[in-house]
């Protein structure tokens, strides 16, 4: 939980947005930066869940 929070805080600041910022507001403004961010974080999040749920168990 703490590591997850750290990474989310760091990543949100570095990438200038989170699920709401890029995902909802950015895509709503049809921003290319936000589309790239959304595809990137959905991708790494899905890979992380795959690793933690299926590879490490």
């Amino acid at each position: 939980m703490l590591i997850g929070g750290l990474l989310v805080g760091f990543g949100t600041r570095m990438g200038n947005g989170c699920t709401s910022g890029h995902g909802v507001c950015g895509l709503g403004r049809l921003s290319w930066r936000s589309l790239v961010a959304v595809i990137t974080f959905l991708g790494t999040a899905m890979i992380t869940v795959f690793v933690t749920r299926h590879l490490l168990k």
């Binding site: 989310v8 805080g9 990543g11 989170c18 995902g23 790239v36 961010a37 790494t44 890979i47």
Partner: protein, 139 residues
């Protein structure tokens, strides 16, 4: 004053939406991210529904000369896709996949009685501050 009232109402709506849609439930979020397992597509409709609303609403809102309770619109100016954007989003995704929380739902979940959102939000603040510290030092 009216501006603050609008902010409170918007916050209430946001929290209500996140709760009703189960975004505050980390097992629901992890189920959505678990595409190779027992995939729960519910949140795809949550994100899709939210984006549908903003795509339509922003068309009208951004056509106004200025916001109703503010002097001007504050919009992101950056257009280019750079390394911090992609790397930051990638790091964010790993944290999201590890915890099942992103900032909005975690803050909404603070009062639900579990320590998870509390720990998560504290760590998020620390993570954000540490990026601020590192980027200030490198320039």
């Amino acid at each position: 004053m009216k501006q603050n009232l609008v902010a409170v109402i918007a916050g209430l709506l946001f929290g209500l939406g996140l709760s009703l849609s189960q975004m505050v439930d980390r097992s629901c979020v992890l189920g959505f991210l678990d595409v190779t397992g027992n995939w729960d597509a519910t949140l795809l409709f949550v994100l899709g529904g939210a984006v549908g609303v903003t795509v339509i609403a922003f068309r009208f809102v951004l056509r106004l000369p200025k916001p109703v309770y503010e002097e001007k619109f504050y919009l992101p100016k950056q257009q280019n896709i750079d390394v911090p954007l992609v790397l930051g989003a990638a790091i964010f995704g790993i944290g999201w996949g590890l915890s099942g929380y992103c900032p909005g739902p975690a803050i909404t979940g603070l009062i639900l009685g579990s320590w998870n959102p509390v720990l998560f939000v504290l760590a998020t603040i620390f993570g954000s501050l540490s990026y601020g510290y590192l980027s200030k030092r490198s320039t």
